[in-house]
Symmetry: C2
Subunit: 431 residues, 2 copies
């Protein structure tokens, strides 16, 4: 295969990234929460810039912004690329924004260099992925893929009590505040909020993203070709013992909820290490009651976050560790309650696109590795619907969700070149 894409200039992408970073609430790093003024201005800005880059722009009911390069041969299907525009509080300037900026730059480069594609290309800036303002995630891609249908907008509110619907209305979007799920109505001046079915016109989804981990940096590799996005299980584990006087209760007469939890946490770590990569298991929150230095803990609650790229392995590990917890609780005479919070299936990326990406790296002389994404991404919602792929570039120190998030211009440019190449192959060649 020929390789006409080379030395894609990074200037357009870097300028877009630089300009996007300015749309932020005050404070360190970038804070751009869904349906806030800074979010609104960022999406407006993108539409202006994309129009200037020769793309046909539009927004949908929830505020996702698209820029299209219409194909000459196939026009009722699109190849979609992009990422999300929202951030965590005091986040960095690369998470999400990089994939959005690079996708637009790639389409611009392709149009300028090769003219109209055979198949339509579309860049997307998803309105939301992080779950930083409202207690849901993937609001942007979820409304495209059918995870959501819009009826959720009356049921979720931010910490100030503003509903999703009211926040949308404040941005001139079709959402209006309603009192409950499914209570959907049009208002004068507002567009009717359609309980949107999943879009059916997307034939492929490709997302470029920073790794948010340390694997590429540790291995001095430029590109990560994501084979799968890990499935995730979350639980809350409650351990019940007996609160008692730390001085008057002999060791042999204790039902110490914290000592039991410590044994479980160590078992979790040992089992996870034994299972090996890509399994990861984490307890990030743990609360002790009554939490007084001279009282034996009577109750402990902790979270479990367990991820793996293979559904079977994930299931087996979770069952095994919960069984081990039950054994520990039983031996110690502790009460055990496990509340499942979340279960997302692993999302395998498309094998053909992965192979194509690896070929591109080989041909361009870029170092790369096949890897699993432990973090969730918009791509996982497309995986069940169409071929989906993800490209990673290194994150300095593995740091993300922080003002210290950083990837060098050279690293960003390498990712852009790989993205542009795969888009060329998908949209410009008679494959």
């Amino acid at each position: 295969m020929n390789m006409p894409v080379h030395n894609v200039p990074a200037g357009v992408m870097l300028a877009l990234l630089e300009e996007l970073a300015a749309f932020s609430a005050p404070g360190p790093g970038v804070t751009r929460l869904l349906y806030t003024p800074e979010w609104y201005r960022a999406q407006q800005f993108l539409q202006e810039r994309w129009a200037g880059l020769g793309l046909k722009v539009r927004t949908d009911e929830v505020g996702n912004v698209y820029g299209t390069l219409t194909g000459s041969k196939v026009t009722d299907k699109v190849i979609l690329t992009g990422s999300h525009i929202d951030t965590v509080v005091n986040g960095g300037r690369y998470d999400g924004a990089y994939g959005v900026a690079a996708a637009a730059a790639a389409l611009h480069y392709l149009q300028v260099t090769f003219g109209q594609p055979l198949r339509s290309l579309e860049v997307v800036s998803f309105c939301e992925e992080e779950g930083s303002r409202f207690p849901l995630t993937f609001w942007g891609s979820g409304n495209v893929t059918g995870l959501y249908n819009g009826s959720e907008r009356g049921s979720f509110a931010d910490v100030d009590g503003v509903t999703l619907g009211a926040a949308m209305a404040a941005c001139g979007l079709g959402g209006i505040e309603t009192s409950g799920v499914g209570d959907i109505a049009a208002t004068e001046g507002g567009r009717e909020f359609t309980s949107s079915p999943a879009r059916r016109d997307i034939t492929a989804y490709i997302e470029l993203h920073i790794e948010q981990g340390i694997i590429l940096e540790r291995n001095s590799q430029e590109i990560g070709v994501v084979q799968a996005i890990a499935g995730q299980r979350r639980y809350i584990v409650k351990i019940g013992g007996t609160a008692n006087h730390a001085g008057t209760t002999p060791m042999g007469l204790r039902r110490d909820a914290l000592a039991g939890s410590a044994e479980m946490l160590l078992a979790l770590e040992r089992s996870a290490v034994a299972e090996g990569d890509p399994l990861v298991a984490t307890t990030g929150r743990l609360e002790v009651h009554p939490g007084t230095p001279n009282v034996i803990p009577g109750e402990v609650q902790f979270t479990l976050d367990i991820r793996h790229s293979e559904a079977g392995n994930l299931e087996r590990f979770c069952s095994g560790i919960l069984e081990e917890f039950a054994g520990i609780a039983g031996r110690r005479g502790l009460d055990l309650e496990v509340l499942p919070l979340l279960a997302t299936a692993p999302a395998p990326m498309d094998k053909g696109m992965c192979a194509a990406l690896e070929q591109i790296c080989e041909k361009q002389g870029k170092s790369y590795r096949s890897m699993v994404s432990g973090a969730g991404h918009d791509a996982q919602l497309f995986a069940p619907l169409c071929p989906a792929a993800m490209i990673f570039v290194p994150s300095r120190g593995g740091i993300s969700h922080s003002p210290d998030e950083y990837s060098s211009p050279e690293e960003l440019a390498a990712g852009l070149e790989v993205l542009t190449s795969i888009l060329y192959e998908l949209a410009y060649t008679e494959n």
Copy 2:
């Protein structure tokens, strides 16, 4: 030796206990914090009742209340018995109050039955022991024994910002609010607050108390003869790791402060069990930062509370476990910081008085055991100054510091009888 004390009627004591329980802030159980209106009324009530029982009452600079039965032979020395009147928030009606009520009933019984003692007897209701309102403990006995000298009253404040001195003044006590330690002055109408030296006239201190543990109940024994009050070490342990993404950080690249802490907590428990009674070791508080389910904990802080009745064993255990913590932190690449918070020496009770108490139990046919008090008590402050002794009675379920605190009238009466007997021996016999 003759045993003239038998069948001490429990009515006076039980009535005092019942009446004392009414002096409480609203809410479950008994809440009687230092220098509050309910505390003030309780101490006033005791002075009235004690006067009615034939005792000579007085209060000291910090609000300890005394009732004296003056001896016929020795009048410049006193045998002191009692406990504290304050409670924890939502505490029970026995902790402290039992020792106060029983001591007054014992003195009353002795006077009625045997007339004036050879040596002066004194009942005390210490103003404070629990540390529930101000961040200090043993304020009552501490001012008697020289732990405090009164200068502390400008330096400690409750959660509402009221200083100890201001709270004293509100009860008509000599304390006035001052801006700093040692800034002591008299005010019109107030007594001058004397930086009191320790009292030198106390020749023995005997305290009757509920066990606040489950050992007597488990062993179906009526009386605990306390051989020593455990020494105590408290520490805050800070573990530093690296906060990182729970999904993107492989198990092998983590510095998980919580997993390291779990290993330490298990080591603590294992070592404490291996050491055996009376050593107890507890982590009652543990805090995780940032405390987010999908973030590997970057920092953990936890408390250590370690007690033993032998100073050497306590020292050896603490050094050993902190060394083990250092080893765990080192192997895991975690930062470790240990802040000593508190170190009190074990307080051995007087061997002669312990032997006398055991003899009394034998003669009265009461089941008893020698034991260590894991909890702190006013008696520990007297142990370095004069012969001190403690008598325990069972606590139902080992429960204390709770509205559910309970000891039966029969159990309370048994303790009263033993207390009365030892006081008789000390004050009425030519020993």
